[in-house]
Symmetry: C2
Subunit: 176 residues, 2 copies
DNA sequence: ACGAGACCTGACGTTGACGTCAACATCCGT
DNA sequence: ACGGATGTTGACGTCAACGTCAGGTCTCGT
């Protein structure tokens, strides 16, 4: 099983086997109830299959798994799925593109978590941040383009509707 | 071949075999150069297969066909294809939904063409127009919802970018 | 009139994002 | 401790929107 691949794709595991730090301690405590895959799917309005599929693609890793190998989803996981659906329906991205976006967001979060961690060099952090910002701005540009196009669309619709309404008004009062 | 079905779906042919009118005379003259499917596809950046497929679904009917049965596309046809792509990529509609939207737009155009045609009753026209306006407003609502969501998305992105930039600025001038 | 492209109609293949089913494993309330 | 609900991993099916190929037809410039 390509376990290493998943780690690489998600890229939010510590690079080496170094000791537990404050960052880990913050991530460990239960920040909410964990749900089984059935409950999670129902709450999200998606299928269990979809959740497994997202994990298979490396988009999602359940907050924990039982010793028997069952998935347990945290509220943060649910939020992540909601974001996946948003990126799908709103922007029309496919799951590979969504993986890129999420990977990027994860990196920024990671950087902010290690804000006061002196083990990573400032230069390294700056470099990472720059890369992330560039990527986010790329996404921003495409989103803004989409919004602009949507505005044009709305204007078009409005004029159509306006013409229709004008016609109806004119018909209601022929010469008056 | 379900030729009648296509006519029904598109619904912009004259209901009965009545004589040629001014409306037909306006539609008949060549309003631009007709393109073969290859040229049309290339100009639009879509495949020939896609054009045939759109026709098969009743989304598109080439302005004319040669006696040998080859498709000839008018500029209006090209515009229609562009609209199809727009509805696909921008709104994420599937081709069935797009058929509904286009059918509706066709009806409004038809009504405007028969503006001075006294054969259709005013009441009938009003009824049709009302239906169309209702449908367009439905579409408008979904489009506006999408735009609102996109705005939220943009705001989110901006805050992420802002935080990243703030980090970089702080790093560049540590204590100064 | 003719030949090189351009085009036609089936028919089957492909891809992404899951749905579905089988056969087995795990969890948890009593 | 146990049994019914819940979950697991393959493996194959599906659906939309085309891609691709074969085998034959049409068009149009020379």
């Amino acid at each position: 099983m390509p376990e290493g691949l998943l780690l690489l794709v998600l890229g939010h595991r510590r690079p080496m086997g170094d000791p537990v730090t404050a960052a880990d301690a913050e991530r460990a405590p239960d920040d909410g109830p964990l749900l089984g895959i059935g409950a999670a799917a129902q709450r999200l309005g998606v299928s269990e299959r979809a959740l497994r599929y997202y994990q298979q693609l490396g988009l999602l890793v359940p907050a924990s798994t039982t010793p028997g190998g069952q998935r347990r989803f945290s509220p943060a996981d649910l939020a992540r799925v909601e974001r996946i659906r948003e990126l799908q329906t709103l922007l029309g991205l496919n799951l590979d593109e969504i993986a890129v976006v999420l990977r990027n967001e994860d990196r920024m979060a990671e950087i902010r978590l290690s804000w006061h961690d002196e083990r990573t060099s400032a230069e390294e952090r700056r470099q990472l941040t720059r890369e992330c910002v560039v990527l986010q701005e790329g996404l921003r540009a495409t989103v803004e383009a989409k919004r602009t196009a949507l505005d044009g669309f709305l204007a078009d619709l409005d004029s159509r509707i306006g013409r229709g309404r004008a016609f109806l008004a004119e018909q209601d009062e022929p010469v008056r």
